[in-house]
């Protein structure tokens, strides 16, 4: 009976563990995130300072659709992308509001946002967030009807 209860307890604990595992698996570096709907509210608000928006994913995806006003800096997973990012922020104040985004792949598979975020933190930036796109930019932004722009 006692062994049954032990097994029971272990199974329930495993089950609870599975159920409570956070979905934001890419948050290994404790990235601060912002939800798409919150960013849309910020961008469309009549008042308040707008954050700088940096796209750190694939150029091909950026050309197809990106957030209006966002700048393409190269894939965060590449040395060139990190270099572009560092160069772009070189003259900015460290408390500048910056939002990074990619959306190439599901959040926990994105190779770009982590290195880009880490770069800005390492450079001393204190007001950086990453746009949380659970599936990808198409599913979580474009198909929701949020504003997009095309081209370079």
């Amino acid at each position: 009976m006692r062994s049954c209860l032990c097994i029971h307890t272990v199974l329930v604990l495993i089950l609870l563990g599975v159920l409570t595992t956070p979905m934001h698996a890419a948050d290994s570096t404790n990235m601060k995130t912002i939800a798409p709907e919150e960013l849309v509210r910020t961008l469309t608000a009549s008042k308040g300072t707008k954050p700088l928006l940096f796209h750190v994913g694939s150029h091909m995806l950026y050309v197809q659709a990106h957030i209006p006003g966002s700048e393409y800096l190269g894939a965060g997973a590449t040395p060139q992308g990190v270099q572009n990012l560092a160069k772009r922020v070189a003259t900015l104040r460290k408390n500048t509001a910056i939002i990074l985004y990619c959306g190439c792949c599901p959040w926990n598979h994105c190779p770009n946002v982590n290195p880009a975020y880490d770069t800005l933190v390492r450079l001393g930036f204190t007001n950086v967030k990453v746009l949380y796109l659970a599936q990808n930019f198409g599913v979580d932004w474009v198909t929701r009807g949020y504003p997009t722009a095309r081209g370079e």
Partner: protein, 170 residues
């Protein structure tokens, strides 16, 4: 005692279901209308013409992917297997890489010994297929050149296989 065993059994079944359930990215849009697949002609990595029209009469699995896309890379070995297994019956896998550069695609192709044609995609082609704003996106096209389904995100190989087997019998 019986009650404890019952609870254990229920917990075990629930646990197995949670562990084996399909990922959220496994998004099968089975309601796609049968519209004609937009035609295209590109040059594949071997320098050969890659035209969708040349595959009329075959079932085509058209995969938009990229080397930086981890879920895409997980799907590709399955596509290689499918091409091996169903190629003689009329399946043709076609890869459209959305990479910005050809070099990593070529390296990946050699590393994985990809056995189907691959070409670099364009934004125009992606537009024709409704946009590739995130990858992978895979289309299953029937022998008449019509889009039967569109899969957004990583999809289980058995889902593709079930569709392909059905279409190959037609």
């Amino acid at each position: 005692m019986k009650r404890a065993l019952l609870i254990i059994a229920v917990a075990a079944v629930l646990l197995i279901w949670i562990l084996l359930r399909p990922p959220s990215a496994d998004n099968h849009d089975g309601t796609s209308s049968l519209r004609p697949a937009p035609g295209f002609t590109l040059t594949d990595l071997s320098g050969n013409k890659l035209s969708l029209a040349d595959y009329r009469g075959k079932v085509v699995l058209l995969d938009f992917w990229a080397t930086w896309c981890a879920p895409c890379k997980e799907e590709i070995p399955h596509f290689i297997d499918m091409q091996n297994h169903y190629g003689a019956q009329g399946l043709q896998v076609v890869g459209i890489s959305m990479d910005d550069d050809e070099k990593p695609v070529r390296e990946f192709q050699q590393q994985f010994k990809m056995n189907y044609p691959i070409a670099l995609g364009t934004t125009q082609l992606a537009d024709q297929y409704g946009g590739a704003f995130g990858l992978p996106i895979t289309f299953v096209i029937d022998r008449e050149g019509r889009i039967v389904s569109r899969h957004i995100g990583q999809t289980k190989p058995e889902v593709f296989e079930a569709e392909i087997q059905k279409l190959l019998q037609r």
